[in-house]
Symmetry: C2
């Protein structure tokens, strides 16, 4: 297998983008990535998306997007793994380049959650859970996460306010990211006072409903100078690990609902592929769709013992801040940058590349050389872990 | 890249399967394929599906199915390319094995179109077309194909009854396939008299709405004897070519609406990969969702000149019959076996493997050694072509 590098990145701002349709969002992100890479005609396009069918009554995004960006003819299709769809598309793109099938590949994460002409967005998101055994009982996706958070608080004697630092850190970083949906810092007090959504999850525990697209250009790391390899002067960022795993879909079927087994499995595979340990990482873009998921992710990936992930949020998240021990959500995370579900996994990679290139502006993590991104589908049923490094 | 073989196949009967949910259909097909291959624990599962979100309000099929078949933990996600989703999943499975990422992979095509709890099935199928430029004007998917058929009849001076042989042949073959939805032959007279759906497409031009799942087990062709390589005594069937291409999504954007450019491109790529010419093929499983698509497919893949594809249907399809010059739809095709959209591409491959192994029963094509399957998404916007051969 060939080593794979990310030679271009692009993203749209995240927000309620009423004047942009699915094809326009994808276009804007992909064109930015092609310009960034200095390439024009890739061989294939893999799109991560969860909700286009349910919300826009549009499937078949492969030719929709390939056509609109002037690349009809190339291989193009959609990959779906709920909120993990973006990283799932990267898995396929990585396979195609690593295996020697294609030399230049576009990976695009794409989601439009506002302006839904089909079903409503909450019903759409519930499709990530088990329809016949969870959703049929009236559980929404937020409610499932609320059950996890309540259980965590009960098992480990944790108070709700102890999670504040995750959201405070995310908003602190979102404030410095021009593409973030929320660009205002929040205080721990604002966190405590936020409106309740599904007890104990309040508005500041939860990532927003929004639109956005992000894109990557992949190429072999050792690609010579055939004129198609990219003319950018930016440093390549190498994919050291690309791993995934699944868990039981319904939470009640899991041996231990508070342990994200798929996050554990996929991060262990990724550490082995990259030959690194958690302590080697300079930053970690984790899947903070809800603040409980930050705590559980830190435990499953080996940064904290069971029940101690929440301790990383102490002191307004000082340990997870840009200058802390392990910077997380460095461009705002799902909470403040926003969580356009099928696009999120690609946004995480785009932001990791920004950090590793030293292009993260005021949000730059100093001496960032090695970083990890973890994208989660559903309440942990599918997890993708990627580790990237500068050459 | 490694050569890839199909070492196991499985399928459910196609029909209105009211007592089977998505997970049960996938289970039945995959378990049959695992038994057929003599293997137990594959490394990954790729699912082709189009409509689970819209019709069953269930996305995230990767862990849903992996969990239900007792393989939670493995990599698993869904691939969507409208009615081409099944072959798209095979593309990903092929990549994974050819590139050396996985050694044993399940590819499953899965669709449940009856018993829809979400939107209605006709609205779901229209998601394969361009929502903002085609569907918004009231076009259903059948209507789009009706426009193509009418245009073909006008351009080439063809009468509707000249297409009869495609449906007569499909039903003749469906009668001998125990998994087919329609197991009765039809006459050309019955074709002419069938109820109109969207003029000129009548009930006998059109594949049915139905449920079904089919599965494949892929492995490296040269896989030694590590105990995981399959203990089946059945002959391997090798994948000689796996190719895809896209066209403009909306028909009005195409240079020539009667030429399936993506079918042309992907079959040319496939011929080059397999180093074969159309005349070398012993059979061709084409995408006869509507009888007009049979004619257009034969033209785009090099079997007929423009406007002459319909001639293959003459004399009750004698040239395309099992003992004809080029057998097509040998197990009933989409028309008579049925077209559970996201599953169809995998059914085509399962049937091709049956023929190449000599296990097609009364439908056996004599001396079948080399065959092609072509799976089409939308009205030709995504096309996948696979060529298989016995060792």
């Amino acid at each position: 297998m060939r080593d794979v590098s990310i030679i271009g990145i692009g993203q749209t701002p995240v927000g309620e983008l009423w004047d942009k349709s699915l094809r326009h969002l994808a276009h804007d992100a992909i064109m930015a990535a092609l310009r960034d890479a200095g390439v024009k005609r890739p061989d294939a396009l893999y799109i991560g998306n969860m909700l286009s069918g349910q919300l826009a009554e549009q499937e078949h995004l492969g030719p929709l997007v390939a056509d609109f960006i002037g690349l009809h003819g190339i291989e193009a299709f959609k990959i779906e793994a709920a909120c993990g769809s973006g990283a799932a598309a990267l898995r396929v793109g990585h396979m195609a380049v690593a295996g020697g099938l294609h030399d230049l590949v576009i990976v695009c994460g794409l989601e439009k959650m506002t302006d839904a002409t089909g079903a409503d967005t909450t019903a759409g998101l519930a499709m990530a859970a088990d329809q016949e055994y969870e959703v049929t009982h009236g559980l929404s996706f937020v409610a499932l996460n609320a059950l996890l958070m309540r259980r965590y608080m009960y098992e480990y004697g944790v108070k709700h306010e102890e999670f504040a630092g995750f959201s405070v850190n995310a908003h602190r970083n979102g404030a410095g990211n021009p593409h973030a949906m929320f660009r205002h810092p929040i205080s721990a007090t604002a966190y405590h006072r936020a409106a309740m959504i599904a007890d104990p999850i309040n508005l500041m525990d939860s990532s927003p409903i929004c639109d956005g697209a992000a894109a990557l250009i992949l190429a072999p790391s050792d690609r010579g100078t055939d004129g198609r390899g990219g003319e950018s002067s930016r440093p390549d960022v190498r994919v050291l690990a690309s791993a995934s795993a699944t868990d039981r879909l319904a939470i009640h079927d899991r041996r231990d609902p508070l342990f994200l087994e798929a996050a554990y499995l996929s991060s262990q595979k990724a550490y082995a592929q990259a030959r690194v340990a958690p302590a080697d990482l300079d930053l970690f873009e984790l899947h903070d769709a809800f603040s409980i998921m930050s705590a559980l992710s830190l435990e499953a990936t080996g940064f904290a013992r069971r029940g101690e992930g929440v301790r990383w949020a102490r002191d307004d998240g000082a340990r997870i801040a840009r200058d802390g021990e392990l910077p997380i959500s460095t461009m705002g995370g799902l909470k403040a940058r926003g969580h356009p579900v099928g696009a999120t996994g690609v946004y995480q990679i785009v932001e990791l590349v920004q950090q590793l290139r030293g292009e993260a502006g005021v949000n730059q993590v100093q001496n960032a050389r090695l970083g990890m991104a973890q994208n989660i589908g559903g309440s942990g049923a599918t997890v993708f872990t990627h580790i990237l490094a500068t050459e």
